[in-house]
Symmetry: C2
Subunit: 269 residues, 2 copies
């Protein structure tokens, strides 16, 4: 059988851990793959654990017991987080992003893997300890970010639709009031999508008054499930009356000043 050097095992084990965030991987998987003793693999893991924690690149946790093993929990250093968020503010300040109706064009950003991967890691880090079962979003622009958070938390993504679709089977539809426009809107979700008694995190690209998040709480009640966290990329803080109090955001957007500059800054939390 093939033998591998420590360096080689460490590279391959790092890759497997990183590609399976929050999933417990039994040590046997590694001993078999690399034809190595458990003690050897344990030493490899100590080296990986040590460097990730030293560089604040997430952490590797050991879970003991029969169903035990190791898992990678995502993380980003405070230095990298700040650098990224400031870079994102610079990108958002480009006046070319202002479109008729005083909207900020962000579609390219919420579909940019470089940005979404980093934003997803930041948001997921806030929910790592909440025993999350599902990450929920409403179509369309928040889907990549919500997917990235779901991946980092090692859970299923759920996408709430604006209208019912034949490919969803039986659905639950609720009405909710959009907080910023005061209009009544629908959201619809397949009955198969969420098991009862689940903990869910809601992720979206933009938070205005929080009407959508409020609607999600109502929708989840229909599934006997609850919302345990909310995370958004951009929080529109010019809307003072929020329907939701507790949430995590990455960027605060205050609007446009009289000279048509975009006012954004890193979120305080």
């Amino acid at each position: 059988m093939e033998k591998f050097t420590r360096n080689q095992r460490i590279s391959a084990i790092t890759k497997i851990l990183i590609e399976n965030p929050n999933k417990i991987i039994n040590l046997n998987t590694f001993t078999e793959k690399f034809n190595a003793a458990k003690s050897t693999i344990s030493e490899d893991l100590i080296a990986i654990k040590d460097i990730l924690s030293r560089l604040s690149m997430g952490r590797v946790e050991t879970i003991s017991g029969a169903a035990g093993g190791v898992r990678y929990v995502c993380g980003i250093s405070e230095e990298d987080r700040l650098k990224f968020v400031e870079e994102l503010c610079m990108i958002l300040k480009d006046r070319e992003r202002i479109i008729p109706g005083n909207f900020l064009y962000v579609t390219d950003l919420v579909l940019n893997p470089y940005i979404i991967q980093r934003a997803g890691t930041i948001l997921a880090s806030a929910f790592n300890n909440l025993n999350v079962d599902y990450v929920v979003t409403v179509e369309t622009k928040g889907i990549p970010l919500a997917y990235e958070v779901a991946k980092m938390l090692g859970v299923q993504l759920v996408v709430v639709r604006r209208e019912t679709k034949v490919t969803e089977g039986s659905t639950v539809t609720i009405n909710y009031v959009s907080g910023s426009t005061n209009r009544i809107q629908n959201m619809s979700l397949s009955k198969r999508a969420i098991k009862s008694g689940s903990n869910c995190v809601f992720i979206d690209d933009f938070m205005k008054a929080g009407g959508t998040a409020f609607g999600i709480i109502d929708l989840l009640k229909e599934f006997d499930s609850k919302l345990v966290g909310i995370g958004v990329l951009i929080d529109n803080i010019s809307i003072e009356k929020k329907l939701i109090e507790e949430y995590v955001s990455i960027i605060e957007f205050e609007g446009f000043d009289p000279d048509n500059n975009v006012i954004v800054y890193p979120s305080k939390r």
Copy 2:
């Protein structure tokens, strides 16, 4: 300044490479981060290159010249690919997935990070050499898969909408004929979304007659850009007359047999 051992550097460099697929990383990034000589980093990279290629876990390429460096190109071993695709066929064969109207419920699968990450790697591997500028999809269910392919190829994702949105600025809208239902439908894309002269890959969850892919070709013409590849998760092969000839798929779906079994198998591609 801090010093790191070879094991530690190898783990951290592996992580950085894996998290930035298809992005060229200059060796200086590593020499500065790890306070090490270029020759030392080069030896680290040789170990990483060697193990990834030995285990068919993708590859590390060296690009010479001033703008040179190294980059990770995604890949999956034939053994892992087959194991995953067969596992996916087993999941799809569950009769509970048949919903009224003879549809197959796949929403949970196209939103499952474990599945989408592997499917995305398989599809991206087919387009690694095509100089792709954008990965394009049509909302909604193909977005996570298309996002994963875009990430693996290191390019921007573009999501075509069914209707125009105020937050997209000026848009281009085209009509196209759905190949399976023969109905006229719309697709709409922000004028800012794609630079002219771009190479695009279209990714979707399901291929029926290929009308949507055909529409994408028309839409891309409006952006003076062209479609260089098509990849889908599931190909409905019961529809014999396809509007599109060349595409890559992962699963072939033939429909339901008289006993209501779901007929699926790994794509021959």
